[in-house]
């Protein structure tokens, strides 16, 4: 469970980081795609986690 939580925390931190990157370069589609990839990774991790997370 701890490993799973750590993985979610790390994936979430990456989303936060990518928000900053997108804000720095809002017209950069590559940065936007990378940010959405980070969000998708978090989505996949949460999909197999309990609902109350």
């Amino acid at each position: 469970m701890t490993d799973e939580n750590d993985e979610i925390a790390a994936a979430g931190a990456r989303v936060v980081e990518m928000l900053g990157a997108c804000a720095e370069a809002p017209d950069d589609r590559e940065v936007g795609r990378a940010a959405d990839d980070a969000l998708m990774r978090l989505e996949r991790l949460l999909a197999v986690a309990p609902d109350d997370r």
Binding site: G12, D27, A38, L46
Partner: protein
């Protein structure tokens, strides 16, 4: 034919005649710089701003229920013609169905708050701190006046510059933030807090239509060196004025990332985006001071919490969210 007139009078008519979704912030529809989509044979409008590769929509369609799907489809056509994507912000729960039907992902992104004025009183222990804060401000010599904009316009501009300077030269926000001046100023109410003849702070209230009619505590600013309690004292004076007039509701508007609740989410929402909103609420004060803003609203002991939503045309998306910030001049 689709019309995209930059004519806010159409929007004013729509928010007054079709407050079906009960959006308490609907007066933002007439902000300067907004664009409007309307159809000649369909009542209502869609309010938006083209921003980078997105069309950022404010609220849902301000239209009767039967017209809303048609307007949204026309908006989707407009976005496709421009090779842009739609992201919609400050949707209300009642707006969601049409967006879900069109395949949007709808997630909660915060909440707005409202106070019933007919029963509201500052008496009692829960308001002791607030009463003390207001008393301190009044002891400093603060007086509060409702006044037309013209009387204070110059000092308000000066105060705004000072206020922005105190925020490290922050950019003035727009789109989801109230304005003063312009052709609809006569529809707003302005309460000024003054020491002598010097403006110390002000709150502008904008009209709210729909099932909870009243006023919205909209744009508010104070001088960085003002004593504590100035805004609270101004708001108390406004509340007393509204109560004397029989106004039913005082709305406090939208606070991003606040009031999040799993029960408020719609089917198909993004759990990752939901997680992200909770993260921004807990640790995102450097991105937006949501907790500070919420603390001010919470001290009035709000009666109603209304979830507010973001809708993504192509799934939850960070660049789409960033373009909402961009439309607000925050990026």
């Amino acid at each position: 034919m689709t019309g995209t007139l930059a004519r806010s009078d159409i929007a004013l008519d729509a928010i007054r005649c079709h407050p079906d979704a009960d959006n308490p912030s609907s007066f933002l529809a007439v902000n300067e710089g907004n664009r409007y989509l309307h159809l000649p044979d369909t009542p209502g409008v869609i309010v938006y701003r083209p921003t980078g590769r997105y069309l950022v929509q404010f609220g849902g369609p301000f239209a009767p229920k039967e017209a809303r799907p048609r307007l949204l489809r026309a908006f989707l056509d407009l976005a496709a013609e421009q090779d842009r994507e739609i992201v919609s912000i400050q949707l209300q729960g009642a707006d969601a169905a049409e967006y879900l039907d069109e395949g949007f992902t709808v997630n909660q992104i915060g909440a707005s708050y409202a106070l019933r004025l007919d029963t509201f009183t500052l008496r009692g222990t829960p308001f002791m701190q607030l009463r003390n804060k207001i008393a301190r401000a009044l002891r400093s010599g603060l007086t509060i006046h409702e006044a037309p904009l013209g009387e204070w316009h110059v000092q308000m501009k000066e105060l705004d510059s000072e206020w922005l300077g105190s925020k490290g030269g922050a950019r003035p926000l727009e789109f989801l933030v109230g304005e003063y001046g312009g052709p609809y100023q006569h529809l707003r109410r302005l309460f000024a807090g003054v020491h002598g003849d010097r403006l110390t702070g002000y709150i502008s209230y904008s009209p709210v239509y729909g099932s909870r009619p009243g006023w919205m505590h909209d744009l508010s600013r104070r001088r960085p060196d003002s004593p504590p309690g100035v805004m609270e004292a101004i708001n108390k004076a406004a509340i007393e004025t509204f109560q004397a007039e029989g106004v039913e509701w005082l709305h406090f508007g939208y606070t991003p990332f606040s009031g999040l609740s799993t029960e408020a989410e719609f089917p198909g929402h993004s759990r990752a985006f939901q997680w992200f909103m909770k993260e921004l609420w807990t640790n995102g004060e450097h991105i937006y001071p949501a907790q500070t803003q919420y603390a001010y609203k919470e001290k009035w002991k709000q009666d109603v919490i209304l979830p507010e939503y973001i809708a993504f045309q192509s799934g939850a998306s960070i660049p789409a969210l960033v373009h909402v910030f961009r439309a607000c001049n925050a990026v």
